[in-house]
Amino acid sequence: MNRLRALLSGRELSIVVALVAVVGVTTATNPSFLSAQGIHDLFLNASIIALLAIGQTLLVITRNIDLSVGSVMGLTAYMSGQLFIADHDTPTILVVLAGMALGAACGAFNGALVAIAKVPALVVTLGTLYVFRGIDYGWASATGVHQINADQMSQGFLAFGSGSILGIPHLTLIALAALVIAAYALHNWRSGRELYAIGSNPQAARLAGIPAGKRVFTAFVVSGALVGLAGVLHASYFGTINASVGTGRELAVVAAVVVGGVAIFGGSGTVLGAVLGALLLTTITSALPILGVPAFWQRAVDGAALLLAISLDRAVMVRLAERLRKERSLRRA
């Protein structure tokens, strides 16, 4: 029990509470929200954004950010479609690997500009947001393939996107695997701990002998590969691709990460929190129509939920800091 509590310490716990509250209220309105199919759908909806959130967390922890994720995702999704146009029977595993490679390449481009050329990540990725999307549009224009539809992709690929093992969707299993690996690496590996050190205090980290540039570059490449994977999964899940896939996704990802308790100025937060944040936000989106919130208000409610989550989190933090301060002064006295 204690271990579970430690695992769900602070921020993660408050998201779980919020999640339970949202699911509870919605289920009270409509019991089928928590049916087998309902739960299946909730996890399925959160899987792709969770993958993006895991990648983004690696970067935000180091006091960086990647705003180009939506464009990279669009580009890899479009490439998956193009692979099927080139050969209708392209093996799914090849598409997945190619998508991850392209995503990693985009990440390496971002990472090189940030880590080697020392341009702030916000500026670099804002630029590449447009560059990668431009390449995506250019590719679509040049080949004249503006939309790739379900019947142009292989059956195996589509089945991969919508299939499940023991009732758990493939996409969710992939997101869970990524979560476990990333959480383990961040928690236990030396390089994982160093990411936190870089984000807490870049100068101190460098003075302590941490190869900050190398670590940040690697974080961008790994995050890029995850985004690439998410793009391929998007293609296999939705079965319709055009050059505008993933437009605006970057903001949803940053929101999930922030709600998940990853400090936007680096140095703290967990991938578990970010994934829970993603799950919470997509669950809210799924719950709103069932709760009968008028369509015009849904976005506003989405935003309000975001603000609420952040301010609650902040209130808890302030209180905690105060208590620590008091305890410390008591001990001194």
């Binding site: 409509n30 089928s32 929200f33 049916s35 199919q37 309902g38 759908d41 909806n45 947001l129 447009y130 560059v131 999307r133 431009g134 390449i135 549009y137 250019g138 679509a140 224009s141 004249g144 503006h146 939309q147 539809n149 379900a150 019947d151 589509l158 919508s162 299939g163 899940y237 939705f238 079965g239 319709t240 055009n242 050059a243 505008s244 896939v245 437009t247 605006g248 997509t282 989106t285 799924s286 129509p289 069932i290 008028p294 369509a295 015009f296």
Partner: protein, 362 residues
């Protein structure tokens, strides 16, 4: 609706537009040579009287200006238009902005005016933002046709409309009623809550439902998927889970219907819930073949472009001027009468099912 998602896209793609601008400048240099001659061909419409027997001029230069150059739907429309122009021994081309913002088309119109095109065929991003530039073009004797999304009435001569809203709305209900045997609960999955054409169609759908033959059909709700794959998915899930006895979903938007089809095809609802609406055959082929969807409808975008191409050529040649009652001869499509405010209607939507879907490729 069909186009909302494109106009909703905000990203101004710096690189692409720079590339396009460069291409445009290059294209401009190439076509200005033969200006003077072709420009004098068409006169201002106000003083002109239509001569139904005037021959279509050869070598007409007609430009198609979509909402956005990468909009797949409008690319198909423009292909149909360019095919019509080629058929009439003219030169057709497609130019356009990389984003569908209100003012992005203005500089393209101005460039086309400078190039002295004989006609401009435009899907307006904003009816008023493009009006001054289009009026300027008409003053210089360039024929202006709008398609798909109208410009201000006095800023174009003819508007080629895909189908009238009423027949689209009513035919949706007729189609779904037939598939559920005239009885049961249905829901609508629309695009954004403020999409004008969607809302007009939905009004006509509701009106059609008032007829006695549909008394056993109940419209439970209208959901909005914002023409976004993920949102449409989630709205479909919500519709199905909050209405366990739902018989059918009608989605009059291409994004909505394909997202809903994809969800239903991989869920236990497959075969139990009817899905119909407006979609493109290529997008829906998979779901017609696996039995998720039995029948859906859409007008043929290629024919829309073809009709617009003929209208532009006929205007530029003086066959029509855009007055009500004039008759447009539109090649393989036959004749179309010009309605009020210079509106030409393509015709009722085509219905697609397992029998005919392979005859279409768009």
């Amino acid at each position: 609706m069909i186009h909302q998602r494109w106009s909703g896209k905000r990203a101004l793609l710096a690189v692409t537009s720079m590339g396009l601008a460069a291409a445009l400048v290059a294209g401009c240099g190439g076509t200005t040579k033969d200006n003077a001659e072709s420009g004098s061909g068409s006169g201002a419409n106000s003083e002109k009287v239509a001569d139904p027997n005037a021959p279509i001029k050869e070598g007409l230069q007609i430009a198609f200006l979509p909402k956005e150059i990468d909009n797949p739907y409008e690319n198909i429309v423009d292909e149909g238009g360019i095919a019509a122009v080629t058929e009439l021994k003219g030169t057709g081309k497609e130019v356009g902005p990389s984003d569908a913002s209100a003012s992005s088309q203005v500089s393209y119109i101005n460039t086309l005016v400078q190039q002295n095109q004989d006609a401009i065929v435009i899907a307006a991003n904003d009816p008023n933002a493009v009006a001054p530039a289009l009026k300027d073009a008409m003053e210089k004797g360039i024929a202006v046709v709008s398609y798909d999304s109208d410009a201000a009435v006095d800023a174009r001569q003819v508007f080629v409309n895909q189908a009238d809203s009423e027949s689209i709305g009513r035919s949706q209900i007729q189609m779904v009623s037939e598939q559920i045997g005239g009885k049961g609960k249905i829901a609508i999955l629309s695009a954004t809550p403020n999409a004008t054409n969607q809302n007009t169609w939905i009004e006509f759908m509701k009106d059609e439902l008032k007829k006695p033959e549909y008394k056993d059909i109940e419209l439970v709700t209208v959901a909005y998927g914002d023409d976004d794959d993920q949102k449409s998915f989630q709205e479909t899930q919500a519709l199905l889970s909050s209405n366990p006895d739902l018989k059918a979903i009608v989605s009059p938007t291409t994004v909505g219907i394909s997202a809903a089809a994809r969800y239903i095809s991989s869920s236990p609802y497959k075969g139990k819930v009817v899905l119909t609406g407006l979609g493109t055959p290529n997008q829906m082929r998979q779901f017609i073949k696996d039995g998720t969807v039995k029948e859906f409808a859409l007008w043929d975008p290629e024919q829309l472009g073809y009709l617009a191409g003929y209208a532009a050529a006929a205007l530029a040649s003086g066959q029509i001027t855009g007055k009500e009652g004039e008759v447009l001869k539109a090649g393989k499509l036959g004749e179309r009468k010009i309605g009020k405010n210079g509106e030409i209607i393509l015709g009722p939507p085509t219905t697609f099912n397992a029998d005919n879907i392979d005859d279409y490729d768009f």
